[in-house]
């Protein structure tokens, strides 16, 4: 990571997980990948947390590869990949702990991938709740392409229930200018908002 990323990490460190368990961060869509990377580094390495990255817009291998190249230890990170079986992608293969869903549709059922989910179908491949300190969603707006706002709301409420019940930190980013209605929905469900400031990103 370069100096800018370290400064961003320092700024986020004083915000993420400081007051409660649920966080949205707001930034331009084009900077989402970078902020997610820095948050994962903060949680996995600096805070030694165990967590799950829910990948909604590309095969998980890209995020795993990105973390590897930036030397972020992924031993305590699992993935829920909604895209890989749907993308025909064969470039990056990175055998980490991963639960695949059949596609990015039915986001309202996504949290069934956890052992505390509501459907039996996922149980055998589920992620155990005791292995989870945080859940990061990357990136929530891309689910809008395949899901109704009602399904998004159901997903969010289930995620909040899991978070409250098991004391899990949840983090997701949104671009409030590009996705106004989604931002409104997230704000109605999630207590804490971190506005990523320009100076954090660019020094």
């Amino acid at each position: 990571m370069n100096e800018k990323d370290l400064r961003l990490e320092e700024a986020l460190s004083s915000q993420v997980g400081v007051d409660g368990n649920d966080y949205i961060f707001t930034t331009k869509q084009v900077f989402m990948v970078r902020v997610n990377l820095v948050i994962l580094k903060l949680l996995l390495e600096n805070r030694k947390k165990r967590g799950v990255a829910v990948v909604l817009d590309r095969p998980y291998g890209y995020l795993a590869h990105l973390l590897s190249l930036h030397r972020v230890d992924q031993t305590n990170l699992s993935y829920i990949d909604t895209v890989a079986r749907f993308s025909g992608d064969s470039v990056i293969d990175n055998p980490k702990k991963v639960v695949y869903t059949d596609g990015p549709f039915h986001v309202e059922l996504l949290m069934n991938a956890f052992s505390d989910g509501y459907e039996d179908d996922f149980k055998t491949k589920a992620i155990e709740m005791e292995d989870v300190d945080f859940i990061l969603i990357d990136n929530v707006a891309s689910a809008l392409t395949y899901n109704t706002m009602e399904a998004m709301e159901t997903c969010l409420k289930t995620l909040k229930e899991l978070s409250d019940k098991h004391n899990i930190l949840i983090v997701m980013g949104v671009d409030p200018h590009a996705h106004r209605a989604l931002y409104g929905l997230l704000k109605s469900e999630i207590k804490n908002e971190i506005k990523i400031e320009e100076r954090w990103l660019h020094g």
Partner: protein
């Protein structure tokens, strides 16, 4: 609620959902172009900028990167075997949009030329590593068609994997493509790309004028037809209003 009000309310709700599904777009940095493509290139996407020598492909691509750098977006420029990087930069540095402080910082250069005799998987791995290192929002490969001349049989598979990979890195990527005599644009790349912009030269009297035409732009209402362009040191690459 009466029938008309209910209908209006439902329409507004549907419109809101439609707006929410609209793609994020990034400004092209080319004056006159964004008005033709609903405000900018879809993010993420892969755009083929095709044209014969002298039509402005490299200038177009550099201007796209510098426009991003102005908004603190990271740019990554892969050069293939077109010309040594320092010569290309020496010529392009005459444009007023070029700010030297961005070189090696918000705009990174990678020479792919020495990689092109390696196996296809290795070339892709190298490109992916460079992208993961720099995390760019804007990528250029100039020109991608050189790679096709070298790897030949695996080119289609390479293009499929490359474009799939570029989109998954969450960036807008411009691939420039050289047009051979007798062909309109590089067909293999046009299938893999989300958008195709054709740059051309047309003889008019004793002179040749430059034109831009959008042949394809997925998910975007776009203007059709050839539009004249000008390339000057002061203004860079500009699409002029008049259509021919």
């Amino acid at each position: 609620m009466d029938e008309v009000s209910e209908k209006t309310w439902k329409n507004e709700e549907e419109n809101e959902e439609l707006r929410e599904n609209e793609m994020v777009r990034v400004a092209s940095g080319i004056p006159g172009l964004d008005d033709m493509i609903e405000g900018g290139f879809p993010f993420p996407s892969v755009v083929l900028v095709a044209g014969s020598a002298g039509t402005g492909k490299t200038t177009f691509s550099l201007q796209f990167l510098f426009a991003g750098a102005e908004q603190d977006e990271q740019g990554l420029f892969f050069t293939t075997l077109s010309e040594p990087t320092h010569w290309m930069l020496q010529y392009s540095s005459n444009f007023s949009f070029v700010k030297k402080e961005y070189f090696g910082n918000l705009i990174q250069y990678v020479d792919l030329g020495s990689m092109l005799n390696r196996p296809v998987d290795e070339i892709l791995r190298y490109i992916n590593e460079k992208i993961a290192e720099t995390m760019p929002q804007r990528i250029v490969i100039d020109p991608v068609t050189i790679i096709g001349n070298i790897i030949k049989d695996d080119y289609r598979k390479f293009l499929f994997d490359l474009t799939n990979s570029l989109k998954s890195w969450q960036a807008v990527s411009l691939l420039t493509g050289e047009v051979r005599p007798g062909e309109m644009y590089p067909v293999e790349v046009s299938y893999a790309a989300d958008s195709v912009i054709l740059l051309s030269l047309k003889a008019e009297g004793n002179a040749r004028r430059k034109y831009l035409e959008i042949l394809k732009m997925r998910g975007t209402d776009h203007r059709t037809g050839a539009y004249p362009v000008s390339i000057t040191r002061e203004d860079g690459f500009v699409v002029l209003r008049t259509r021919f």
